[in-house]
């Protein structure tokens, strides 16, 4: 209990935390209305654009399957296993980095990880696995084990002038608490299943964002130094989030506040 109060106090310094949740509780009808918005997700435009980019720069699904040395039929399940250790990279990479490798192999200058073209193309590629369950294997090899451990460390390590970690706001103890009118989300498979629902259209930003880009948003707000996209820590965090949401069905693009 004492611990919760301490966390609440340090949070209060960044944003105002309150547990007076009923004031902002959404009705089921409201929640349903927001869920229905997924049918016409503005990010569908960006994902469609991503499909054309994949065709143009990566040879489409056939090109992607060939790059992974699998058949096109195996592609969805394979994509659902990212982040993965890839021999060509000698490290654990996200799907976006794999696409960079393929672009390079095809003689194109790879899109930057933070470019909207990469967000579009990466989202399209991940959407090929829509309906498939996240099936990351963190015990597949020592690289995956290390990536998971680094991700967990990054999630739990207190940083910044407020001494906050991701865990401060995303631990089971605080889920559902209200921070500046927003409920603290459950990132795991029983809640938002973040790794299965990002990339998503971020309504407050009017744009398509990736999971790693979303991590940066929280880092910014909680006054933690922002870690670059694609760095081992970021990929580790993605591995950690994917493990937390393992078993959830991929549904890309998501739609978030």
């Amino acid at each position: 209990m004492k611990n919760t109060i301490k966390i609440a106090l340090s949070l209060a310094l960044v944003c105002s935390l309150s547990y007076a949740s009923e004031q902002f509780a959404m009705s089921d009808a409201d929640r349903e209305m927001y869920a229905e918005m997924l049918e016409d997700n503005p990010a569908d435009i960006m994902v469609a654009n991503g499909g054309e980019l994949l065709e143009e720069f990566c040879g489409g699904e056939a090109g992607l399957a060939a790059f992974f040395k699998i058949s096109e039929d195996e592609l969805p399940a394979y994509i659902a296993g990212f982040p993965r250790y890839l021999e060509e990279f000698k490290q654990v990479v996200g799907l976006d980095q794999a696409l960079q490798g393929l672009m390079h192999k095809n003689g194109h200058k790879p899109f930057a990880l933070k470019s909207s073209d990469m967000f579009d193309m990466g989202s399209y590629a991940k959407s090929l696995a829509n309906g498939v369950k996240l099936q990351i294997d963190i015990d597949a090899n020592k690289h995956m084990k290390e990536a998971y451990a680094l991700g967990k460390l990054t999630f739990e390590q207190k940083r910044g002038s407020r001494g906050l970690s991701c865990l401060s706001c995303h631990s089971p103890q605080v889920i559902g608490g209200i921070l500046r009118t927003q409920p603290l989300p459950d990132i795991g498979s029983n809640g938002n299943a973040s790794a299965a629902t990002w990339p998503a259209y971020r309504m407050t930003k009017s744009s398509l964002r990736t999971l790693q880009r979303r991590f940066q948003g929280c880092m910014n707000n909680a006054l933690l130094a922002v870690i670059p996209l694609g760095s081992p820590e970021m990929v580790g965090l993605e591995v950690y989030f994917t493990q937390e949401a393992k078993g959830s069905e991929i549904a890309i693009p998501g739609l978030k506040r």
């Binding site: 503005p42 569908d44 435009i45 654009n49």
Partner: protein
């Protein structure tokens, strides 16, 4: 590139002649109100919003819209339409700075 900035969706995917289907048009557009300040330069961002949208089906006007700046960024327009033979469904839209674009989709009823 502009054709990639918008999308027409018809639901369900496959439909019969005479069926009433849901049509959605989505477009990437800033929908700037002209009353917002740029956070860094502190200058007012000039207004730029979609101001008219027209749905046509084989040259016949189905729905027209006058649009104002209060629609959300990357707006979505959804209504119904009765399928009436093979042909083309097209959307023409313009914005307050005078840009005009068109997007279209083939209509192919099954049976």
């Amino acid at each position: 590139m502009s054709s990639r900035k918008s999308l027409i969706k018809i639901k369900p995917n496959s439909y019969k002649d005479g069926e009433i289907v849901k049509v959605s048009f989505m477009v990437m557009h800033p929908m700037e109100t002209g009353m917002r300040k740029d956070k860094t330069t502190k200058e007012i961002i000039p207004a730029k919003y979609v101001n008219s949208v027209k749905f046509e089906y084989n040259g016949k006007v189905i729905t027209t819209m006058n649009v104002w700046e209060s629609l959300s960024t990357n707006p979505v327009f959804t209504t119904y339409m009765k399928i009436n033979g093979e042909g083309k469904f097209s959307v023409t839209y313009s914005d307050s700075t005078g840009e005009v674009h068109e997007k279209s989709m083939k209509i192919k009823p099954k049976g």
